[in-house]
């Protein structure tokens, strides 16, 4: 599904990713853990195609399609979804309008017919109910005045609606209390499928209690430095990241 080879990327001439390699197969959930500043969020932005980052070497492909040859919206249409750590607010644009615009844009890009409004509304209501998103929230400006939990739930709603192949969750647990975390995790778990993969980026192990990963990677200084099973997350929780910070001093 996702294949990243020897990826180097920098921002303002500062190299953040330094030869990252990662393979995610269809249906798998991979967790990427690491200390602050290890380049976790950079990875998600580079995959999604944020302008500020420059890929200096390496490749990334989604189902064989070269991601770096695509514009951000084309990557989205190809099936890449990034759940933002800090979802953006767009005043004046109702959440419902945004959802519909996004869904239809992707359908058009894939040569599918646009969804008629009644069918669309029914679909959104269904998905929103499961996430505890009220009609009122859907009418409000996108993420405007939403609490941290509401914003994250809104991200999961979009994920559910857009049905991507690959979901990258960037620190989705940050700023959430345990109840909000559960709702979000349940939403994500409901989307797990044979043909859908997840890359879950997180600093803490607690999210992984709720979204069980198949593989856990440790990232440090722009590279994957260790890979293991779910037990690795517990080990990190117990011992911290100290080992991965100090041994890079050279």
């Amino acid at each position: 599904m996702l294949s990243i080879q020897n990826l180097h990327a920098s921002i303002e001439d500062k190299e953040i990713l330094r030869g990252l390699t990662l393979d995610v197969k269809a249906g798998e959930v991979h967790a990427i853990m690491g200390p602050n500043g290890s380049g976790k969020s950079t990875l998600s932005y580079v995959l999604a195609g944020k302008d500020d980052y420059e890929v200096t070497a390496g490749s990334a492909s989604l189902d064989g399609q070269d991601l770096f040859a695509l514009e951000p919206d084309e990557r989205a249409a190809a099936g890449l979804f990034l759940a933002f750590q800090y979802p953006l607010e767009i005043p004046g644009v109702a959440t419902m309008t945004f959802l519909k615009t996004a869904l239809n844009a992707q359908r058009r890009a894939r040569g599918e017919a646009e969804l008629p409004t009644p069918a669309f509304i029914k679909l959104v209501r269904e998905k929103a109910d499961g996430l505890g998103i009220s009609t009122d929230m859907l009418k409000r400006g996108l993420n405007v005045g939403f609490s941290g939990g509401e914003k994250k739930r809104n991200e999961v709603l979009q994920m559910a609606l857009l049905e991507p192949k690959l979901c990258v969750l960037d620190e989705t647990d940050s700023g959430l209390d345990i109840d909000a975390l559960k709702v979000v995790a349940e939403g994500v778990n409901a989307l797990r499928a044979q043909d859908r993969s997840f890359v879950v980026i997180t600093h803490y192990q607690r999210l992984l209690d709720h979204i069980r990963p198949d593989v856990v990677h440790v990232m440090s200084k722009g590279r994957i430095v260790r890979t293991g099973g779910p037990e690795l997350a517990h080990e990190l929780e117990a011992r911290g990241y100290a080992d991965y910070i100090s041994d890079e001093a050279a």
């Binding site: 999604a48 195609g49 944020k50 302008d51 500020d52 514009e71 951000p72 919206d73 990557r75 989205a76 249409a77 979804f81 990034l82 933002f84 979802p87 953006l88 607010e89 767009i90 005043p91 004046g92 644009v93 419902m96 309008t97 945004f98 519909k100 615009t101 996004a102 869904l103 239809n104 844009a105 992707q106 058009r108 890009a109 646009e114 409004t117 400006g141 996108l142 979009q158 857009l162």
Partner: protein, 489 residues
């Protein structure tokens, strides 16, 4: 709701230029001699079959205009206007005098159909509650058709070309014409007073809520012709009217002058809602051609509890010089100004409002959204003043500007003048660009850059769009995206 995709799709359909109203109607015209003199004024007055007092009023204005100089304080730059080379009157042949829809030249009906303006009184479908709009269509210098006249008359509403009102309702015209914008007001208004040819007249009698939206559609067709329309709306005690104004012009290489005057009078407890979608030809990408739009619009809340609300969507014209204002004379009266001004290419916009608080407990609100793209310059200029006796005057102003591209300019020039300690004025303004992060977020969800910008801009102007009547709002939303075509990338 899906206006974004629809708009972008529409824009793509338009090949060479974005301006889709740029066609010329081939129709024979009756024109005044080139240039401006007392004879021109007499010619226009005679063409309209005006009484002597009206001619005298015009001549006074003309003589005064000769002594005036063009204002130069606005942030707009243009070569001298050759006033002596313009034509001050042009009318499609065969449209003199009052007419029914059946008499209108089919070529004209076609023009308006092409512009999307219905000049037919559609029957209401059984069981379907559709909103109807009465239209007065002004083509160059004359009104060519006014729909729904009969039904309006039943309600006591007078809605007719102003030339007709001068003949048929002289007592009303005499009483109110020039009472809000005096003939001596400013260079362009004075010129208009001398040579105005047509426009709409509205009178809503006491206690009447106008049964439908009234609308005037202005079209400049003829080459080298100035359009000087004059609109006068009087809402008598306790009445209500919503009025819409739309405008387009053909694409021509030379600049065309448009100097209109609009006067609104709201008496006790009356309300006037005036909406404009201004889409005159803006000129091409290099700034060639386009309308010079020098307009004086002013409303007078003459009675207590009167309310006047201006909403404007300005996307057209090479130059816009326009400050729809409210004189809050009556106690407890209220003035509102909602504006979206979009400039692209080489357009220059200098627009805003004046809220003059004279009565007690008067309130006003200003929401202005300016968007500059391309190499355009977009200025908000506004005045809020409270007279010494305007106790408890209140104003809230919010004026935001959005810049798209690094070659345009956005400027804010507000004046606040409080002469009473009981006044409370609050003013806030911001200027920023569309945030890259917002754009990226939208793109991550599958929107193209163009769609993302259109969506964010539509959100940015939402407060103002909401003020427009429904049909206009949808049209305006599309217009906004079309106007910004080519600004991204």
């Amino acid at each position: 709701m899906p206006a974004v995709q629809e708009t972008v799709a529409r824009v793509r359909e338009i090949d060479v230029d974005q301006y889709k109203y740029g066609f010329v109607t081939d129709i024979e015209s009756d024109r005044a001699e080139q240039g401006l003199s007392e004879d021109t004024v007499r010619f226009i007055s005679a063409k309209k079959g005006e009484p002597e007092w009206m001619l005298e009023w015009r001549l006074d204005a003309y003589r005064r205009w000769r002594t005036m100089t063009e204002p130069n304080w606005a942030r707009v730059d243009y070569p001298p206007i050759p006033y002596e080379e313009l034509y001050y009157y042009s009318a499609p042949k065969g449209t003199a005098g009052p007419k029914t829809l059946d008499d209108v030249d089919p070529e004209l009906l076609k023009t308006y159909a092409k512009l999307g303006i219905p000049l037919v009184e559609q029957e209401l479908l059984a069981g379907v509650q559709e909103r109807r709009v009465a239209v007065d269509a002004v083509f160059d210098s004359v009104s060519v058709a006014t729909t729904f006249q009969k039904e309006l008359r039943q309600a006591g509403v007078i809605f007719c070309p102003i030339s007709e009102a001068i003949r048929e309702h002289p007592e009303l015209v005499k009483k109110y014409l020039g009472s809000v914008v005096p003939a001596s007001d400013n260079f362009f208004a004075t010129l208009n007073s001398a040579v105005f040819s047509d426009g709409s007249f509205v009178y809503i009698p006491k206690g009447v809520r106008c049964p439908m939206e009234l609308s005037t559609y202005f079209r400049i067709n003829e080459r080298n012709t100035g359009q000087f329309e004059r609109t006068l709306i009087i809402a008598d005690e306790g009445s209500y009217v919503s009025y819409l104004e739309g405008c387009t012009a053909p694409m021509r290489d030379e600049n065309q002058l448009h100097a209109a005057v609009v006067e609104l009078v709201a008496l006790d407890d009356a309300e006037i809602k005036y909406s404009t979608v201004q889409n005159w030809y803006p000129g091409d990408a290099d700034g060639k051609g386009g309308i010079y739009n020098f307009v004086t619009k002013r409303g007078d809340c003459r009675g207590k509890n009167a309310k006047i609300s201006w909403t404007q969507v300005e996307t057209g014209s090479a130059i816009t010089w326009k400050y729809p204002s409210c004189i809050l004379r009556g106690d407890n009266s209220r003035g509102e100004f909602y504006s979206i001004a979009i400039s692209n290419g080489r357009q220059q916009v200098d627009s805003g409002t004046k809220m003059i608080h004279l009565g007690k407990n008067t309130t006003s609100k200003i929401i202005s959204k300016g968007i500059s793209a391309g190499r355009s310059q977009n200025t908000y200029r506004g005045l809020v003043s409270a007279h010494r006796k305007a106790t408890n005057a209140r104003n809230f102003t919010n004026c935001d500007s959005l810049l798209i591209g690094e070659e345009c300019g956005a400027h804010t020039v507000p004046y606040l003048e409080a002469k009473t300690s009981t006044a409370v004025f609050e003013h806030e303004a911001t200027t920023s660009k569309i945030s890259d992060d917002q754009k990226f977020y939208c793109q991550q969800r599958g929107l193209s850059e163009e769609e993302a910008v259109a969506l964010i801009v539509n959100g940015f102007v939402k407060d103002v769009l909401q003020q427009l009547p429904m049909e206009f709002a949808v049209e305006a939303q599309k217009l906004i995206s079309i106007s910004l075509e080519g600004s991204v990338g």
